[in-house]
């Protein structure tokens, strides 16, 4: 009897050890914070007009907003509160410019004259913020680098966004028209935003396989021809430390985008006051955005004035930039203006498209791998897979949009199909995910000669979230 009892106890002990071994590891506090931040980002209205952060920063649209996506939204979507809420009918948004050009009304220079004192700006994406907002002078948020109240940080930015975009009326009274985010909510929102996209800068040059993209990279890096690397070091959002000093980080410049003729929003006849950028009154400067994420996050510049990445590259050839304070500085320093021929413009754009596709692939792989980790709930796994699908679709679009790497596009199409199957599959869909991951890696190998492990490190910062 005692022998049986001992055997039973031993069996129970073994089972309990096995069960303990199979238990999912608890998420880290940082992972919990990110998930909480994501929930707030997409669901919390702060007792305002119904908008959330995700109303304008759409997952499906690279955490930004485009006219094409707006066209898919139902009339009752909270983006359109100015059309559906009488108290917000005047001085809150311009529905014409919102629907046609995805422009959002901002009172950068104050709320004293809502009818005339405003700017119309695009929605900047929130990808790669971990590498793009720090500067020697402090954090730079928003299009002109000065979007946040309080200490000016990304954390504080959410408070300003609630006041600007979430109120029930333009009186903007706290605890009447909205509630302010709590400290805990600000912490979570910041953690979530910093988890999106890249967490480290690239190291150029990359061993690109594409002939045109490789030439575009050469032009980009040549300070005598493309002259792009000084302000977009390694195609990111920071200044070249050899020029601006170590830790210079993100910078503001006046490139005179505002001086472009025939700007789309102006052509409508709607009131579009000149945007004076940084400060009150502004000094005409705007923040340097990252280029790695550029190709799939157009339209371009603070006012969505240029639709294509080729057009954005060509902007620096034109009279507006050449005559701008930044353009004149560049001429003074290098002896000439930027003057790329059409083939060179296309080559630089091809380089940026390939960079963007590589980042899409990196992000997609990271998201899919994360979706299969132990401890990730089924619902969370589905969210991650869905985001991976969007990234893969973006890679397809930025490459196919310029006829680049059709072989890689074919692999990406397969990866997308497998990921969608995994989303709808019974069970974990692990086999489908493995096939999707294999296709993504095949696509990446068509774009770049670097060993996969090296490239996977680039951009991920070696950390996970």
């Amino acid at each position: 009897m005692s022998g049986t009892w001992r055997a039973l106890r031993a069996l129970l002990a073994t089972v309990s050890i096995l069960v303990a071994g199979c238990k999912s590891p608890a998420p880290t506090p940082q992972e919990e914070l990110i998930v909480r931040g994501e929930q707030i980002f997409f669901n919390e209205t702060f007792d305002g007009n119904g908008r959330t952060c995700g109303t304008c920063h759409r997952t499906e649209d690279n955490f930004g907003l485009t006219p094409a996506f707006i066209a898919t939204l139902p009339p009752e979507d909270p983006l359109f509160v100015a059309e559906t809420t009488p108290a917000l009918g005047k001085g809150f948004e311009n529905p014409v410019l919102m629907r046609e050009f995805a422009l959002i009304l901002e009172n950068q220079d104050g709320f004293d004259d809502l009818a005339a004192n405003f700017n119309m700006r695009g929605v900047p994406h929130t990808l790669g913020l971990a590498t793009t907002i720090d500067s020697a002078q402090g954090p730079r948020t928003g299009w002109s680098g000065d979007g946040a109240p309080g200490d000016g940080s990304l954390r504080a930015f959410a408070t300003g966004a609630v006041i600007q975009h979430f109120p029930k009326t333009t009186n903007r009274i706290a605890d009447v028209d909205f509630r302010l985010p709590t400290d805990a909510e600000l912490d979570a929102l910041e953690a979530f935003q910093l988890s999106l996209g890249r967490r480290a800068d690239l190291e150029l040059p990359l061993p690109l396989r594409g002939t045109v993209a490789a030439r575009g990279q050469e032009i980009f890096l040549d300070n005598g021809v493309g002259k792009r690397n000084a302000c977009h070091f390694n195609a990111g959002a920071n200044g070249d430390p050899q020029i601006f000093g170590p830790g210079a980080g993100n910078l503001n410049f006046n490139t005179a985008v505002e001086d472009l003729p025939d700007q789309p929003a102006d052509l409508t006849g709607e009131l579009v006051p000149a945007d004076d950028g940084f400060g009150t009154p502004g000094n005409g400067e705007f923040n340097t955005p990252s280029l790695v994420e550029a190709a799939d996050t157009g339209p371009f510049f603070h006012n969505n004035s240029v639709e294509t990445i080729e057009g954005a590259v060509a902007f620096y050839n034109g009279d507006a930039f050449t005559g701008s304070p930044a353009g004149q500085l560049l001429i003074g320093a290098t002896g000439s203006a930027i003057n790329l021929e059409a083939t060179q413009v296309v080559a630089v754009a091809a380089f940026l498209r390939v960079l963007n596709a590589l980042e899409n692939i990196r992000a997609s792989i990271e998201l899919l791998e994360k979706s299969t980790q132990r401890g990730v709930t089924r619902q969370r796994s589905r969210v991650l897979k869905r985001r991976a699908t969007f990234e893969t679709e973006d890679a397809i679009q930025v490459l196919a949009g310029a006829g680049l790497h059709p072989d890689a596009v074919a692999h990406l199409e397969s990866a997308r199909a497998e990921t969608i199957c995994a989303l709808d599959a019974w069970g974990s869909g692990d086999r489908k995910l493995r096939r999707a991951l294999a296709q993504l890696r095949e696509a990446r190998d068509r774009l770049i000669a670097s060993p996969a492990s090296d490239l996977a490190r680039q951009g991920s910062g070696g950390g996970g979230s």
Partner: protein
């Protein structure tokens, strides 16, 4: 080669000069009630106006720290906080700096605490309607 080096040096100097500092206008600050501005509690002062020197556009503020004089310049943003009255906050002026009023001050230089970058003044209920006629 020397010419290239010269140009590089010029690029360094000129582009560095072209980069602006990151002081922000942060206009939404106006609608944040006293004491609730994110990330500024360590550097801002919340206190009561003890004295006013109109000639010097200065106020003496007593808060948790020792009472001290703070100057308001043309750059200083002045807001009237009426959140506690469930009314919209207004743009104010130096005349709104009255002895006895609660204020929150953020400084241009948090070390010297000599000049206010912005000041929020809590408006008592009795004077709120008067303030309403000012521009929003």
């Amino acid at each position: 080669m020397a010419r290239l080096a010269l140009r590089s040096a010029s690029l360094i100097t000129l582009l560095a000069l072209g980069a602006s500092t990151a002081l922000a206008q942060r206009e939404t600050e106006r609608y944040i009630p006293i004491g609730q501005s994110p990330g500024v509690s360590q550097t801002a002062t919340i206190g009561v106006i003890e004295a006013v020197n109109a000639a010097d556009r200065s106020i003496r503020v007593a808060g948790r720290e020792a009472a001290h004089w703070v100057r308001l310049t043309d750059r200083t943003r002045i807001w009237l906080d009426r959140t506690h009255l469930a009314q919209t906050n207004l743009i104010g002026g130096f005349r709104d700096c009255e002895v006895g009023r609660t204020v929150e001050i953020r400084y241009e230089d948090p070390v010297s605490r000599a000049v206010a970058a912005w000041i929020k003044i809590a408006v008592p209920a009795a004077v709120a309607p008067d303030a309403d006629v000012r521009s929003r």
